[in-house]
Subunit: 150 residues, 2 copies
DNA sequence: TTTGAATAGTTGCACAAACAACTATATGTC
DNA sequence: GACATATAGTTGTTTGTGCAACTATTCAAA
């Protein structure tokens, strides 16, 4: 039932995520040299808020694939930086809705430019169709491990 | 000069490494339920020692793509678990060579089986040729960002 | 309506990562 | 040989992660 027809050799670096670590480090350096005091993890939370402001911490857990304590602390730190604000839901008082502040909104343009730049550097000389295959494979891997019960 | 012909959309999850995180978590769970008290990061160090025993901490830095303090502490913890041993080099006393203990050697078979199992589950239903393309792309990404000066 | 289960979020702990600053040893040049 | 420089490794600090245990609130069933 399993597909063993591939070489496992360099696949183990998949596990340690060397490629994504390299991308994250490059982007972090760009943040630092641009004077942005923001970690990649904090940025990844803001990224989802830019797409949809006011979602709950639990929704941020699902979106970023982190557990609840991680999001609690990331939101703590983003609040200290006054980039987001916790607002208790009126209808369900268990829920915190997380809203961007003006400052948090302002970071979108600059950081997304740096993120695009980083991806362009990372994917330089990689044909678009291969990028698509890669995206597809990583999505299936994620679904195989997270959305199934196996 | 940049190749902008691909959609950036879901690419940002590359940066956060969701797929490799999912693989690592699955493998960690297998370790835990097998009663192995070993983190994935510790395992990744042992992995390179199984391939070549007695390499230096600096060589482990390069192999695992981690900085020196990270390796210092990983080796600290592996020594506490009596899985490896630091041995000062005779010819260059700055260098620590890291050697597997009997216990460290014994872990190879069981953990590599669990790692293979994890990769099989992750790549279930992914055709081998697509896995190859994905490996190739991730390798280029890594080289673009780490082995170039850009 | 009371009780028990589910859900949202927080806190404590151990481990890991990135950066800066540090010690110790080796190397190369005058 | 002396001194500057490079290399190997360690330590301190801040941040993030995963797990377990906890509180508060909501929901559902008797």
């Amino acid at each position: 039932m399993s597909n063993n027809q591939f070489k496992k050799g360099e696949l183990y670096s998949f596990i340690t995520g060397k490629a994504s670590t390299a991308i994250a480090r490059r982007l972090q350096k760009k943040f630092n040299t641009s004077g942005l005091h923001l970690t990649i993890e904090q940025w990844s939370v803001l990224y989802h808020l830019w797409k949809q402001d006011g979602i709950s911490q639990q929704e941020l857990c699902n979106a970023t694939y982190r557990d609840k304590p991680s999001i609690t602390r990331l939101v703590d730190n983003l609040e200290k930086l006054t980039l987001v604000k916790r607002v208790a839901s009126e209808t369900d008082r268990r829920i915190n809705r997380i809203y961007l502040t003006k400052q948090g909104q302002k970071l979108e343009e600059e950081t997304m430019l740096l993120a695009d730049e980083t991806l362009n550097e990372a994917l330089l000389s990689v044909p678009a169709d291969k990028v698509d295959v890669c995206k597809e494979v990583l999505q299936i891997v994620y679904d195989n491990l997270v959305n199934s019960n196996e």
